[in-house]
């Protein structure tokens, strides 16, 4: 459960997204993120559950495009959240990428339509050290240009999770994203409460 969202820069966007990413949040909130530009959400992997809830709530009222960079979109979870209503599920379009090259190709092939656009775990494939750091940064720069293009007409939110193994390249890539984002929001989750003692 997300307990607090601390924006790096206080702005109206942070308040809107704060409401949107509560599990009981209303559907309308993230769509108030107005183009041009896109919002960057930085948080641990547990945030993904709230992202899926937000996507489901958004799908109830609007068409939404999900670009999944880290295999984070669980369609069964979203289907359960919308109680399997096909008219809602049909409004959610999902595209996945499994390498950083595919992420760029995916963004390039995404039309700049006036839909809400959510990019899940953008940096996941960019943490892959089998691709040289310079090459990854070059691809990320190209991705940022594409995000800017998409953000011209779409209301866009990009989520990023920290890498399992911290690295200098990861820090630099996060800084690149922050520099281009309209606003950056750091999400903190409260540590899990200890399991209550069982009586039997």
């Amino acid at each position: 459960m997300i307990t607090s969202i601390e924006p790096k820069f206080g702005s109206w966007n942070a308040d809107i997204l704060k409401a949107a990413f509560r599990t009981d949040g209303r559907a309308e909130a993230p769509l108030s993120v107005k183009p041009p530009g896109w919002i960057l959400l930085v948080g641990p992997r547990q945030v993904n559950a709230a992202m899926l809830t937000a996507i489901a709530r958004l799908g109830e009222g609007h068409a939404i495009r999900v670009l999944d960079g880290g295999n984070r979109f669980n369609a069964y979870v979203v289907a359960r959240l919308v109680r399997g209503r096909p008219e809602v599920l049909e409004r959610i379009t999902v595209s996945r990428a499994f390498t950083c090259y595919q992420v760029l190709a995916l963004l390039e092939s995404t039309p700049a339509a006036a839909l809400a656009c959510v990019v899940l775990d953008l940096l996941n494939t960019f943490y892959d050290e089998s691709v040289q750091a310079g090459e990854r940064k070059r691809l990320l720069r190209a991705c940022l240009a594409q995000l800017e293009r998409i953000g011209q007409s779409s209301r866009s939110v990009v989520s990023v999770h920290p890498p399992k193994v911290p690295s200098q390249a990861a820090v630099e890539m996060l800084a690149m994203l922050q520099a281009e984002a309209q606003d950056t929001i750091f999400i903190q989750t409260e540590p899990a409460a200890p399991e209550p003692l069982r009586l039997f």
């Binding site: 295999n71 979109f73 669980n74 369609a75 069964y76 289907a79 359960r80 109680r83 399997g84 096909p86 599920l89 996945r96 499994f98």
Partner: protein, 88 residues
């Protein structure tokens, strides 16, 4: 590349695990009956996978119902045979 969605087998295991506390609170005889229901759902995993339903638990429930209905049909047939034997 990994799987984009969990398989029907994994989902059934997750669903079964999510009912662990419910099962724990049941009587032993009811626990065995619940286990039988999940076993009957497991018999139709291939069909559930093929169905690719948005809500897989609905398919599992239908699988349980299917097995129950098969049992009812078997019992009905046996009852009719017994009645026929008794009358004839």
């Amino acid at each position: 590349m990994g799987r984009t969605l969990p398989t029907a087998t994994i989902i059934l295991q997750q669903e079964e695990a999510s009912f662990a506390r419910f099962r724990r609170a049941l009587r032993r005889s009811d626990q065995l009956a619940l286990d039988d229901l999940f076993t009957s759902a497991r018999q139709h995993l291939a069909a559930a996978q093929y169905a690719s339903h948005a809500l897989p638990f609905e398919v599992f429930l239908l699988s349980m119902l299917l097995e129950e209905h098969k049992q009812v049909m078997r019992l009905r047939e046996q009852m009719e045979q017994l009645l026929a034997k008794r009358q004839g």
